[in-house]
Symmetry: C2
């Protein structure tokens, strides 16, 4: 009756055992319990610890190696090859590039695409516009040290900021682009944070292991008078980043 007891969990979870093992090991590394250069326990010991076969453990280790989290050497063992999570600070003044300064050598934010669309429910509500109003939508990808760190969708009123996409292409940051419209300063009004699995598109652009978890931030930035300027939906790989309030 209980012949296949150990595998009954995976039957209910829908998440393969090798992936749960990889997640557990990555969590230790990215959470700081294991330092870069540390040697992991041997495959046989890991197999015992997770009540799994050595082949299953090997598959988990192979996935972690493909992600660049560890490095495996024949005859020696597996070694931690990545530092701990990067912190992204959220506050009144939240600026992407200032935020990661000091945690990475090079920081960039590239525009993947832009288009004009009609504001729908959540976008219109966030920007305080009537549904159907024209808004500019930007799709951006931010990287630190050439590692994709954030995939964001940004909406702004087209009437208030005509040709924002064009100007953004000529400016180094959102802050600088807003300044070109006479917005000297702006503040974060609200941030809503949730988490979910990455979809196929996000997996590709953020160069994630398929099935990875994202932290999702929905933010509204306003001018100093409280008038909404932009609405941003940002997605951060939960393995690489944590949000600090």
């Amino acid at each position: 009756m209980t012949k296949t007891e150990s595998s009954s969990e995976s039957h209910l979870s829908g998440v393969a055992l090798w992936r749960r093992i990889a997640d557990a090991i990555r969590l230790d590394i990215v959470g700081g319990k294991r330092q870069p250069g540390d040697r992991l326990p041997g495959e046989t010991e890991l197999a015992e610890r997770f009540s799994a076969n050595r082949h299953t453990v090997r598959r988990a280790l192979a996935a972690l190696q493909a992600e660049g989290v560890i490095r495996t050497e024949q005859g020696r063992g597996s070694f931690v090859d990545q530092a701990r999570r990067v912190s992204y600070r959220i506050g009144k003044r939240t600026r992407f590039s200032e935020n990661l300064a000091g945690q990475a050598a090079t920081i960039s934010r590239d525009m993947l695409s832009s288009r004009l669309e009609n504001a729908t429910g959540s976008v219109a509500a966030a920007l305080g516009l009537r549904a159907g109003t024209k808004v500019t939508r930007l799709e951006t990808l931010s990287s630190a040290d050439n590692r994709p760190m954030s995939r964001a969708s940004i909406w702004l009123s087209y009437a208030a900021f005509p040709d924002f996409a064009v100007r953004f292409a000529e400016n180094p940051s959102i802050t600088a682009t807003l300044a070109s419209y006479g917005i000297a300063d702006y503040a974060r009004a609200s941030t809503r944070i949730s988490a979910r699995h990455a979809d196929a598109d996000e997996t590709a652009t953020l160069k994630l292991a398929p099935g990875a978890i994202l932290l999702v931030s929905e933010a509204v930035d306003t001018d100093l008078g409280g008038k909404p300027l932009l609405y941003a939906l940002s997605r951060f790989p939960a393995d690489l980043m944590e949000l600090v309030v």
Copy 2:
């Protein structure tokens, strides 16, 4: 060569197709795109939309029904059976019970266990204590309308708050218990937010579908002078809750 193209994704992901489908449907519901009472598309149409077999879709729907997210009726279809996500507000004054008031009828925080232990690295650092100092550790489970909503571990200095666990059992909340020590008010100093899969223990106590995603909050509360009072590691089901900064 590309005979099994559609299944090659699941090979890389380690997350079963039926679970990815269930996650996608749940995301629509919990994100507000589908309202309670709405009818989902038929199984055949969902199967086409996700490029999967109807049996695979049925398994996803069965999982969602087991979670209480939808309800399926023979001959009629599947219907949304749960409201959208609950918001948990994080700010200077973050109090669990005040936070969810208005979003649920009954709110409770139960103590699962308590013990005395020696402060280790992260706990000692957060509380500003030397490693090895005695601290009280509480394990709590919070519920709204009898649905588990948060699993938290809380650490306090034993010297500053002797027998905290005993007093907490006699008081309705952390706030009230701290008041009994003469702490009239306290504030949230920092919050770090990350996300990961639930482990076996968390899956059981929070009554989650195995493989569910958690929002993890690490917070330090201080008195009004900035002296650390407690360190809390809270886990929220990402399907049910979002954090609002």
